[in-house]
Symmetry: C2
Amino acid sequence: MALTLKAMTYFTTALRHGNIAKAAAELNIAASAISAAIDQVEAEFDLTLVTRQRARGIQANASGRAVARKCIRLLDDYQSLLSEGGELKQSLSGTLRIGYYAPIAPAFLPQIFDAFLPEGTNVTLELEECDNDQAQDGLMNGKYDAILFVAEDARPAIAYDPLIEAHPYCLLPVAHPLARQSVVSMADLAQEPLVVLNRPVAAAYYDGLFRTGARDAPVAAYATSTEMVRSLVAAGRGCAILNMCPRTSETYSGEKVVARPISDDLAPLTLAVGYDKTRPRRSVQDFVNACRSHFAKSGPARCVVGR
Amino acid sequence: MALTLKAMTYFTTALRHGNIAKAAAELNIAASAISAAIDQVEAEFDLTLVTRQRARGIQANASGRAVARKCIRLLDDYQSLLSEGGELKQSLSGTLRIGYYAPIAPAFLPQIFDAFLPEGTNVTLELEECDNDQAQDGLMNGKYDAILFVAEDARPAIAYDPLIEAHPYCLLPVAHPLARQSVVSMADLAQEPLVVLNRPVAAAYYDGLFRTGARDAPVAAYATSTEMVRSLVAAGRGCAILNMCPRTSETYSGEKVVARPISDDLAPLTLAVGYDKTRPRRSVQDFVNACRSHFAKSGPARCVVGR
DNA sequence: AAACAACATCAGAAAATCAGAGGTATCGAT
DNA sequence: ATCGATACCTCTGATTTTCTGATGTTGTTT
């Protein structure tokens, strides 16, 4: 690897000028460095490529010109490698891979994408629903560019921006008596059968919520998907406590549910976006920014139920 | 130019192994060098390309794999540049450009080419007739790979191998009285009209030859080509003194000439092959060798007239 | 002959590279 | 839970490479 890109650059520049001194001036280095580079190239091929005529500059012979052509080609390829690499960082094109532990992400993610992906950008989205740990694994090993996850369960190595604190709320069938209240309390719920979202982080969280308040009624159902929880609630199976909520009150089953804030001071869950903060690709950074500004606004698009 | 070929090599090797230590072993360098190279590549693109998981090696993310692909491509191109360069030196293919100041070169060059160019080699010959100075210029500035020229007029910078000493001989019409002698002397020629080859080096040389011996007869003709001299001689215009001679006694005019050695001790001209001795391409070296062995043999193929 | 232009060479300085030691995180087995 | 193996990171000093600037040489031009 004696023939470095630098040597090739010097070599081709010198040939282009036909003059070592001029090349040195252009490259802002000493002429001797150019001369040495030419020596290197010749040594590498063990060929005389250039005739050096004192007081008349240098001139490449046929072999020299052939080598120079190839070198120029390689340097061009190198430049395009660099700029393509730059585009990897700069451009919005490419693939944006997002893992999310946020079952109601469909409620807001499309809107976020709309905000930072103008029409015509050819970004391919890869969206993968997963649990909090998988998301963090995926972020660390490069599977995901960014993750939406619950910050309370964040590992120290994960860099993230909090997006929103989602306080738990109560999901009720429309016909439920509590639905007539604008706010419900944990005490209100003590008698209610519950439909519990049984997902890694969520299960422990809900468990924590109820450890304080006494529970009389049994758990009516465990479900591993948010929509199942919602549909069970809509069908009157019980109430549920959730943190984020879609923008529709209608469930897959066609029936409706009602969301009511909880008056008790319960620990919220923080939705956060995790990503590589040290060197984010532009599209990743844009996505993060879009997430932040999305949740910075108030309104139903934030998918939380305020007290 | 922070991203060197070396760094790319280390980077791609590390990714291929998914393991810095293994890559270091393969490349016979310290692991820290690999790690530094990866840092360099990432810094160059200002992107995280690799996730380093202690005790589990390294893993490229999508960007890393993309960059690696491009790097591998570039390194391949680099390798082929090197090997093509090697072929420039090694192979017999390519172009062999020869300038010659030897008007009778057609008498022997084809035979020389036969000797070192086996059938099927795709060497393109570029043969250019020129004068001694042009030949040397062309050799120095890379226009010619090798030159056939007169060594007496060689510049110090030109490296050459003498091929043959060509003593002057006398060219006579077949019907000329002197043609009956097996040898002629300068004195014999003093009375004869001369046909003089009027070419840069030759003119001075012949001038020198006659400065010593007295000349009575005028110069019958000056001609700038050997064949014209021969034809003029054949036509009886006069005699000529030349150094090398073709293998035919017939001239373009269809008439014949006779060559006779000169008994006087006159300075010969040395036919030499000039070339770049420091780094000859293989085909050039082969050509030179073929020239030497051609003129090392005795016989009419040497194109001289012996006493 | 003198002035000028341009490459060659060399020594020392600056920079890059590398090896090796020591440290730390992770995983798996005990 | 602890220990050992693995594998990456960081730091330091040595080595190698590269560069500069001065000086020398050569060839051209006036």
